[in-house]
Chain length 303, copies 2
């Protein structure tokens, strides 16, 4: 059995799909005496209030973090540097700062320089999500049976790391400690490049002549559907991911475009053996994903 | 209310996901006095028998089609030409020949030349499916609320077209008549190229160094998962699709690779405005797909 962490005051900065799901978990499992949600937009704050996700909602970053023993950044990563700079003077000694961003190396370089020695930084990335965004889209089972990758730098307070791990385990997740640069390469191929390609395919279809475009939607069940789902993820979040994981994305995209050219040649040459060999090999990978239990698409209905 | 078609004897050649689902529909809705399933492999035939999908199972193509008033080709399209050549002498006048293949123009050129004047050819393509294959994977609600595109040539017997349309409507599908070349262009962008890309992405990941490869599976929930699902579709079926829709696939793939280069440049140049604009535009398309009711992934559980 894992230990249940306890916080006096958790401050979540941002309340999208991930932030609001985390708030739901903390509330449901009673992991903090107080939950404060800080967001910039009135609409978000009023939705958070209506849904009862926090004890306190505020636009005031200083007020949100001042007494917190855990601060979790849940905004698109592009906002991190400014948030770290602004909140840093108000963090009390011993506060744990974590996040849920999909890139990790540049997150460390954006946030770490602003934090004083007594503040513990444990960057995190829950490998979970849906294509929906906003506080209404969250649910408390989102992290069940998912991995959360933590990328603390060497020398980070072990107690702080443990508490963040315990928090995620209470959400039903499994945790793994990883080097931030390695995280960014793994995610480039499993997540960032696939999203980039899905955005491109859907974009290509929107550039077609009108009649064809209407039919693309009508006959989406043939495969296109899945790409539209992926390509409907939050635009700002994804813009920031590509801005902040540029090198790994470009490396993996380079490999991919080479492989596309190869398959393109197979098609042009009608090389049926090579095609069948590749398509059989990829089928094996699906089996591994199913064996690892990572094939299920989480939905709120599965609560 | 649409008319219920009635056949004395339906012969399904092949009993994969689509063929076996169609058999289930015909049986459930009582659309034929007799269902004959013809397949090449013993394993398929014994599964079909065990599942009770047909009144008669046989390896003998001549026997299967001889008395049929409807013959539906449900094998990978690469087998069509040989099937058409072999079965043609045994088809009685008035028989309707249809199919469920994902390409239509080359299907017409493979099958039509073998059919005599009294035989009516109504090529069809149900825009429905899952990543699973084989007779066990079929279910009778697979076609509900899906489109079936029919590509009969000008001059085809209207009665025959009507009967095939009625068959699919009984399966819960909507039908649309389309030119075969146009069908192949629409499907190239909505289905064939997306599958080709999914196969490539999963293939690229299998070429990674071992440690990274294991992690790709472990952290598949980040987006890669969806591509592994698509890339686990039947290898032979997909090989045949690319072999038989080469031109449209290469045309659409050409457009796509241009667009990938454009997005690659946005990433390299950190062009945040252009990225956000594209990602917002693709989100709109998802809304259209949802409005068209084509976003739902069919599962047997939804029966």
């Amino acid at each position: 059995m894992f230990k249940k962490p306890f916080f006096n005051r958790v401050a979540l900065i941002g309340a999208g799909l991930i932030g609001s799901s985390l708030a739901r978990v903390i509330k449901k499992k009673n992991l903090s005496d107080k939950i404060v949600i800080c967001a910039r937009r009135d609409e978000t704050l009023s939705t958070v209030k209506k849904l009862g996700l926090a004890d306190t909602v505020t636009k005031d970053l200083e007020f949100a973090v001042a007494q917190a023993d855990l601060v979790v950044l849940c905004t698109p990563v592009g906002a991190y540097e400014s948030l770290a700079r602004k909140m840093s003077p108000f963090l009390k000694t011993g506060t744990i700062v974590s996040d849920v961003g999909s890139v990790k190396h540049s997150v460390i370089s954006m946030v770490k320089p602003y934090l004083t020695d007594g503040v513990h930084f444990v960057p995190g990335h829950p490998i979970a999500g849906t294509e929906n965004s906003g506080p209404e889209s969250g649910f408390d089972t989102l992290f069940e049976n998912r991995w959360v990758i933590l990328t603390p730098q060497p020398g980070t307070d072990q107690n702080a790391i443990n508490k963040v791990e315990e928090l995620w385990r209470c959400a039903g997740a499994k945790t793994e400690i990883m080097d931030s640069k390695h995280h960014d390469r793994v995610l480039a191929i499993t997540s960032h490049v696939p999203h980039l390609i899905a955005y491109t395919i859907v974009g290509t279809a929107t550039d077609l002549e009108d009649r064809l475009k209407a039919e693309v939607v009508k006959f989406a069940a043939s495969g296109f559907r899945d790409f539209t789902r992926i390509a409907s993820s939050d635009p700002v979040m994804w813009r920031d991911i590509f801005l902040h994981n540029k090198n790994a994305v470009l490396e993996m995209l380079g490999r991919l475009t080479e492989d596309i050219s190869t398959l393109q040649r197979y098609v042009r040459d009608s090389d049926s053996d090579k095609m069948e060999e590749l398509f059989s090999r990829t089928r094996e990978i699906r089996r591994s994903v199913i064996e690892a239990g990572q094939h299920i698409i989480p939905t709120p209905e599965k609560d």
